[in-house]
Subunit: 220 residues, 2 copies
């Protein structure tokens, strides 16, 4: 079955620090794993438009267009791409439900303390917030480390959509050193990001910013 | 079709401040809307057990048991209960995808700044964290206010599972006064919590704690 390409909407340009982390990588990675062809479109980062707001009520990216469907929220996007993709989603109904469960767990049980630690502590240079959210984050990561002890992937002994979401939630924490005391979780992130599909998605995003720099330079 | 009752697992007791907010209310509310019979079981709050950890890797509640399926994460739980319940989920595939989208939006775009404001600011008495997360929270709530301007419910002109999740994410913010400058969102929460199914779910949770107090008093 040939699938029509989907469109992933991302920013026209971003500064250096979010490069490699902009959440369009989640949709790119899902497409790469599932063999779904995709193209990209851009919305301006600096002067955000009403057209952009009409697609994404929080004025963010990514946005996915798939035929008549326009979708925001990277978690929903990855599950949508996974729905009919055996590479990302088991057949079994119970396992499918656990893929949804772990997608929510990544985004609502694990990411909030990581975001608090990075945004409230590091980005806002608030030492006490760093300690408060850090304590919560390390508790959750200890629990995740224990859960992952005998597992290669998070659901059902195979790579699924939930691994994309969980890895992406953990990757900024790893890159800030927070996984150094959670070796099992760190090894899990290394395993996931070593996959060729992740590597291609990451490279594609980095190439997009290189091209964005080139276009910017050509204008000035 | 008669449905077998599901089991909602919650704590055996909690102190006063989380009463009415423990996330089992999300599953109770979904059951009440959908007409799904449920019973409750408890796990100890104070001396958390290995049996509890085996069901919920972060040692929290709620947990849902539905036949052979044991499920954690209230977002996944509400979507699971909604899947075959016309009262909570439209038939149309595109609308179903938007219900998932807004469930993730509530839990990952709206809740993290609210949690940061409440946990990092109020609970940890950190004024700067309150301001930092408060600024982010009010930006998101302004955007939500604009989005809700012409809507009764968040997806497709009808009440869905996404309204349960979104309302529950917003309710602590409303009760801490954060919605006073977001009147459309505040009215949305009032509309949702006025529903008889919410009222029954809330009362059932509060009755559970009253009974827990009674059992505690009888022991001592």
């Amino acid at each position: 079955m040939t699938r029509e390409p989907v469109t992933i909407v991302t920013y026209d340009w971003v500064p250096d620090f979010p490069r490699g982390y902009v959440r369009d990588i989640r949709a790119r990675w899902a497409c790469e794993e599932a063999g779904i062809p995709y193209r990209t479109e851009t919305v301006p980062l600096m002067d955000r438009t009403q057209d952009h707001l009409a697609m994404q009520p929080f004025h963010q990216v990514p946005i996915l267009k798939d035929g008549d469907l326009t979708l925001f929220e990277s978690g929903a996007m990855v599950l949508h791409l996974a729905k009919d993709s055996p590479a990302l989603m088991p057949d079994d109904d119970t396992l499918r439900t656990h893929v949804t469960e772990w997608s929510f767990a990544a985004l609502n049980s694990i990411e909030p303390p990581i975001t608090g630690w990075i945004f409230g502590g590091k980005f806002k240079k608030n030492e006490k917030a760093g300690e408060d959210f850090g304590g919560w984050m390390h508790q959750r990561l200890d629990q995740l480390d224990a859960y992952l002890a005998d597992k290669e992937w998070i659901v059902g002994d195979r790579f699924t959509a939930a691994d994309i979401i969980l890895t992406e939630v953990l990757r900024p924490a790893r890159d800030e050193g927070a996984l150094d005391r959670h070796p099992t979780t760190k090894a899990y992130v290394e395993r996931a990001t070593a996959r060729p599909a992740f590597q291609r998605a990451h490279q594609a995003q980095m190439d997009h910013w290189t091209e964005a720099d080139r276009k910017r330079a050509a204008k000035t």
